[in-house]
């Protein structure tokens, strides 16, 4: 039976258990800061607390899609050199994209709820919202492509190309509020621009981003390992099938 150096849990190591514990504590502190410590906004009132989930979620999604694109590019480079090279980059791309889709979904859901109380509507087909939903659908398509049956290397190359094409939309989403007139406000924090928020709100937003990053890291690490397990299972099944066919041939001969 195939077995590698063992740990007690299927996808966990001591390091990821520590990461999980840190993530749990970080989220509890984020809830405390976001829902209790940080003040209500003068204009938006309590609704401003959506900021601490909505903004970090899309930042994490951007980061996950950057990771997907970089891993995909490295996979394409490595797979040209060696037939079986760089599959760990493919796994990383797949796990990061899935986590990115989850956080894009959270961004859309929290944005719609926030929009209902601040704009009076759940949805408007403006530039930011439309490009974000396109991002969500495109990466859902990427995940669907990963599930199509194919040789792992062929599938890896197809999905890597799609990941690189899909990434084009990420800067469009981010800069849509600057390039077009939209209902959506401009970025709360942006490099080279004075922050739109200050004080406790500013620090709570930064801290929430850190906490969500830790959670996303835990998710990516574990998802990566599950993909690795699935590959091992598929390889084992294929080897068993080949062995069974060879046995049949021997009997017939």
């Amino acid at each position: 039976m195939a077995q590698m150096p063992g740990t007690k849990h299927m996808t966990a190591t001591p390091a990821t258990r520590v990461l999980g514990a840190v993530a749990l504590v970080a989220v509890l502190l984020m809830v405390l800061l976001g829902l209790v410590v940080s003040p209500a906004d003068v204009v938006q009132g309590q609704a401003v607390r959506m900021l601490y989930l909505h903004v970090p979620s899309i930042w994490i999604a951007y980061g996950a899609f950057v990771l997907t694109s970089l891993s995909s590019a490295l996979f394409l480079i490595r797979s040209r050199r060696r037939h079986d090279g760089g599959r760990h980059y493919d796994r990383l791309a797949g796990s990061a994209a899935e986590v990115g889709v989850v956080f894009t979904g959270i961004t859309l859901a929290t944005g719609m709820l926030w929009g209902r109380v601040t704009w009076g509507t759940y949805w408007q087909w403006d530039a930011r919202l439309t490009t974000t939903v396109l991002l969500f659908v495109t990466y859902l398509g990427y995940l669907a492509l990963r599930r199509l049956p194919a040789d792992p290397m062929t599938r890896g190359r197809r999905t890597a190309v799609m990941a690189l094409v899909s990434f084009v939309n990420v800067p469009i989403v981010h800069y849509s509020v600057d390039w077009w007139r939209t209902l959506h406000q401009k970025a709360s924090l942006s490099v080279g621009r004075r922050p739109e928020i200050t004080g406790e709100m500013y620090w709570t937003l930064l801290y929430s981003t850190l906490a969500v990053t830790i959670v996303a890291s835990w998710l990516i690490v574990h998802r990566y390992r599950v993909i690795r397990l699935e590959e091992l299972r598929d390889e084992e099944a294929l080897e068993a099938l080949i062995a069974s066919r060879l046995k049949e041939d021997d009997v017939q001969a």
Binding site: M1, A2, Q3, M4, P5, G6, T7, K8, H9, M10, T11, T13, V31, G34, L35, Q44, G45, Q46, A47, R49, M50, L53, H54, S57, R87, H88, V102, G105, I106, A109, T110, L113, W114, R116, V117, V215, W218, L219, V221, H222, R223, Y224, R225, V226, R228, L229, E230, L232, R233, E236
Partner: protein, 56 residues
Amino acid sequence: MSEVTTVATGWGLSFIVVVTYALWIVGRGKTVGRELGIGGQEELDPGSDSSMPADS
């Protein structure tokens, strides 16, 4: 929908999504591990690419 209800719904929904996804990942790992014949025993470290399966 009041501001407080909106915030509670948004945060609650987000936590449900993330926790459900995390539990699905862990459950999926256990299921596939069992299919590989390593469930419930000392289990593998699938993060290690360099280690090829060895006879147990």
